[in-house]
């Protein structure tokens, strides 16, 4: 017997609906668990005071600072490098073995597990360059780790800018750089920003690569040469060493909330930028 196309359509729709709800559902469950376990232990004091007794008491202020420092510095370093590479690959070179090689390298780097970046950072920055466990070693390592993501997403975003816009810009007597600066990059900003957001997420949540290179000191970092601890590392250590599950969940909640807030702000800015001229 032939199944009616309309029935198939209904089943398929149901199936996809289920998948969508399932995906969102998992996210909701995770956030809910963290929220209910962490929320009772969160207070202003928790956020603004430093950890005591390995994190068993006190707050997480120094780890918040550690996270912010690490993420901001890495992003500030990786964004110009990554976007610059993407511009070079798309606007300043013709497709050749050389660009294919770079692209292949970038893609391979994107697939490497973060622990390997950690090991590399440890051997190269911490030991060889004698930077020690420090914010500096950490940020350099994380920069290298997130670079492939930023390059790839920026490249896609730049490639998606219609060729016509470039041609028009040239015909109005713009040079290559003027065209890149005034037409290509502004049009690609939403896509580039997506890549940066993905990278922020990776950097915020990273543990392995950070422990190896930035260490896990609970003191407030006062220079780039100080060791420091991020919230993710703090959560990992609290939970693994069984120091305090309450504090661990509270840390996780702060972590999740800050990622959510960063995402909301980024998407708000992005929509504002997109809707401005369309």
């Amino acid at each position: 017997m032939r199944i009616k196309p309309r029935l198939v359509d209904k089943i398929v729709r149901l199936f996809f609906n289920f998948q969508a709800f399932f995906t969102v559902g998992i996210l909701v469950v995770i956030v809910a668990v963290i929220f209910f376990k962490g929320a009772p232990h969160i207070s202003l004091g928790f956020i603004f005071s430093s950890p005591e007794d390995m994190g068993r008491h006190g707050g997480i202020f120094s780890t918040i600072i550690g996270t912010v420092l690490l993420v901001l510095l890495s992003i500030f370093l990786a964004t110009p490098l990554g976007v610059g590479t993407a511009i070079f690959l798309t606007e300043y070179t013709k497709e050749s073995i050389f660009t294919k090689f770079i692209r292949f390298g970038v893609e391979s780097l994107a697939g490497i597990p973060s622990i390997l970046y950690g090991l590399f950072g440890f051997i190269f920055f911490v030991i060889k360059l004698k930077m020690g466990w420090s914010v500096l070693s950490g940020m350099l390592t994380i920069t290298i780790m997130i670079l492939p993501t930023i390059i790839r997403t920026s490249e896609e975003a730049i490639k998606a800018v219609p060729r016509n816009l470039r041609i028009v810009s040239y015909s109005l007597s713009a040079t290559r750089w003027e065209t890149v600066k005034k037409v290509v990059i502004p049009s690609a900003v939403p896509g580039i920003l997506t890549g940066i957001m993905l990278s922020v997420g990776r950097a915020v949540g990273e543990t392995a690569a950070v422990i190896f290179t930035m260490g896990s000191s609970l003191r407030l970092p006062t220079s780039l040469m100080d060791s420091s601890r991020t919230m993710a590392v703090h959560f990992y250590i609290l939970a693994r060493e069984g120091i305090s599950m309450e504090k661990a969940y509270a840390t996780a909640l702060v972590l999740v909330m800050s990622i959510l807030i960063i995402n909301i702000i980024a998407y708000y800015l992005m929509n504002k930028m997109i809707s401005k001229y369309s």
Binding site: V168, S171, L172, S173, T175, V183, Y277, S278
Partner: protein, 251 residues
Amino acid sequence: MDIKIKVEKLSISFGKNKVLKEIDVDVYRHMVTGFMGPAGSGKSTLISILNRMIEFEDNVSIEGKVIINGIDIINGDIDSVKLRRQIGTVFAVPTPLPRSVYENIAYGPKLKGIRDKEEIYAIVKESLKKAFLWDEMKERLETSALKLSGGQQQRLCLARTLALKPEIILLDEPCSGLDPISTAKIEDALSELKKEYTIILVSNNTKQIARITDYSAFFYLGDLVEYGPTERVFTYPSEKKTEDYISGKFG
């Protein structure tokens, strides 16, 4: 009559594909010259030589001369950026930049290094007026150019080209995607503009060529079949091919 552009024995190939074969054309100052011919006749390629946009294509070989204002722009030492300030282009598909109406028109003047806001405003206003768009746009200078209708967008592109204060304007099938009313507005603007500019209009629409050009050239498969005053070409074409094309037997 002054010759503004002199094309001498120009041949162009993309790889092994010859798209223009030893073309000779003189384009006269302050006239509208029409290039017509079916798709693949080489007329748009000729345009892309004149503004040197052809440098963005791969595998091109060019022979011959194109002399503009006494300088050979093919073999001479030419700065493309400066050349494109003399020779403005309007493309077939209206392509506003994703910015406001005002910023679209100010794009060229700003690249030229003009910083004075009042000067730029004056250029924007003058250019919009010349493109017959000022009355519709004077209240909407800050809106996104992407929100305009297709016809308005194409006139905006014309205004944007005029803002460069060029001597020559190239229009590559500017009305191919437009409705008759928008087309008429562009044509009206062009007949005014020829008093100040030398205009080259590429079109596949023979009626349009007959309506607004002073001289017309008929291209077919890379050859220049016929060239002369439009009235003569359309009333007494000297080639059978031209007659067949303008009477609609092919094309």
